[in-house]
Amino acid sequence: MRILFAVDDQTYSGSIVPEAARISANTWADITLLTVQSSSNKLDENKADILRQHKDIFLSSIEGGGFPYYASSTPEDFEQISSGWQGCQGSREGSKLCLLKIRSGDTVREIINEASEGEYDLVIIGASSPDCQWKNESLDLPQKVAEEAACSVLVIKRLRPTGKIIGCLDQSQISQESLEMINQLVTLHQADLKIIGLTGPKGLSGKGNVEAQMADILNYYTARDINAWITLVEKQALEDFVSSASKDGIMAVWMGKKSMFAKLFSQNLVEKLIENSQSSVLILR
């Protein structure tokens, strides 16, 4: 598993470092902390310092002295690479990577490019609450990353206790990695999982195979002692349901290429979902 954690120097990024650390450590992931500077001429030392500080907090947030990551005793230097600058961390055999990276250019583009070039599985990004922006950046940066990245994206707006993860999982196509990702969120938040099935006048959408897949998903989670609840939502009522449910818990929406939810959720709705949510939104691909 590879995670890209995109940050800046604001509180909405700093305050979620421990959450990102727990997700990374639980999934035994290689992680890159990325920030973007506008100029490509010279390393912005302030940005480099922010990344170093975030890394310290990241490592100290993980029980057991930062394991499985390597904590160097000296501040990390940066070296120039083709896309910008990269921290020169020491390593220890068997440890997972915790890289620092600074790219130069447009922030949205560079986060999306890094996600794609580095073949990451998940991008984690914070956002101001309630307006869901990044300071001094183009409008709706978190929404744009969530929409355009090729991999899954977790947008964390505000850390608040939640008892529910609401999964729109599009049961016919969901990947094993996505199920595991939700499992991690449920475990981290000690939450219940609400699995949404789409229904219409003829019952569950795509009946037959979909029903069997939903049963498999239910088995998967109940076997892991997760309280999983099935709720059926009519297709026409999905938009209303999502806007009310996102105030209530963390929404996880499967938006893979063949996803029925992707067809029903207009781009506008994804934006609205992220904008209106009071905690976090996980877009799964």
Binding site: D192, G197, T199, L204, K207, E211, A212, M214, A215, L218, T222, N227, A228, W229, I230, T231, L232, V233, E234, A237
Partner: protein, 265 residues
């Protein structure tokens, strides 16, 4: 030993109901007869189609039996059934209703996936089958463990009916039982009220259960919206109440409850 009729089909709702029923058997002395209704008008390829009526019916019955067996095998459940599955041919509700009356079952169980659409729930519980059933009707909405049950009381609940039906089913149950007296309040937060707000009816109900040797865990009076209260009941494995007589806040509460609901009449 309670005799329960468990209706199965090859779908998710039945898969959940089957697994829940097996869990319920750990807490109640209950045995199930699996039943399946085949609609003769359905477009099904069966060995008997087109043959003389008797052979045709045997073909349909055989297909139904296979459906139930497949489900039981898929779910790998470990509970005891009373003989072979009962395969009924004809109108779903009418056939089940006839069976409930004729074979003296004490509990009806079926899966019905949870929607918060009140009309769906209202249509279900006002169907001919539910209205005319001689037994309590257990609607399994989700897979939970029935280690804790809650008797839902409040406006419109006939406590004498609830008490007597509940004792018939649950007098030897090993799950714990709480009472929740619900008062509808759409505005504001969920509130725990003083138990005196439940009035003399609540006291009488508690006394009746205790005189019949049933120990109630917690008795609470709660006011709130149906959705808020329904969410609170997620911690239970079974909600038991009487049929709501009309569209009401209690109907909305029962429609929203995500756990299995047993309706008595």
């Amino acid at each position: 030993m309670i005799k329960g009729l468990l209706v199965l089909d090859e779908n998710l709702a039945s898969s959940i109901a089957l697994r829940y029923a097996c869990r319920l058997a750990d807490y109640l002395p209950i045995k199930f007869k699996a039943a399946h209704v085949e609609d003769p008008d359905a477009d099904r390829q069966s060995a008997g189609v087109g043959w003389i009526k008797r052979i045709w019916e045997e073909g349909i019955e055989d297909a139904g039996r296979q459906t139930v067996r497949r489900l039981i095998q898929t779910e790998k459940v470990d509970c005891e059934f009373m003989g072979d599955p009962k395969i009924l041919i004809g109108d779903h509700n009418q056939e089940l209703l006839n069976t409930l009356w004729r074979d003296s079952y004490q509990l009806f169980i079926e899966g019905n996936l949870n929607t918060s659409n009140i009309d769906d729930f209202y249509n279900l519980i006002t169907s001919e089958l539910y209205k005319n059933s001689p037994t309590p009707m257990l609607i399994v909405k989700n897979l939970v463990t029935p280690d804790k049950a809650v008797l839902v009381c409040g406006e419109g609940v006939r406590l004498d009916v609830l008490g007597s039906q509940f004792l018939k089913i649950a007098k030897d149950a090993s799950f714990t039982v709480d009472i929740l007296f619900y008062k509808h309040e759409d505005n504001g937060e969920l509130q725990y009220l003083d138990n005196s707000e439940g009035g003399s009816a609540l006291k009488k109900f508690e006394k009746m259960l205790s005189e019949n040797g049933f120990q109630i865990g917690q008795s609470r009076v709660i006011s709130g919206s149906p959705a808020q209260t329904a969410d609170l009941l997620r911690d239970y494995g079974l909600a038991i109440t009487t049929f709501p007589a009309r569209k009401s806040a209690r109907l909305e509460l029962l429609a929203n409850i995500p756990i299995p609901v047993m309706l008595c009449q």
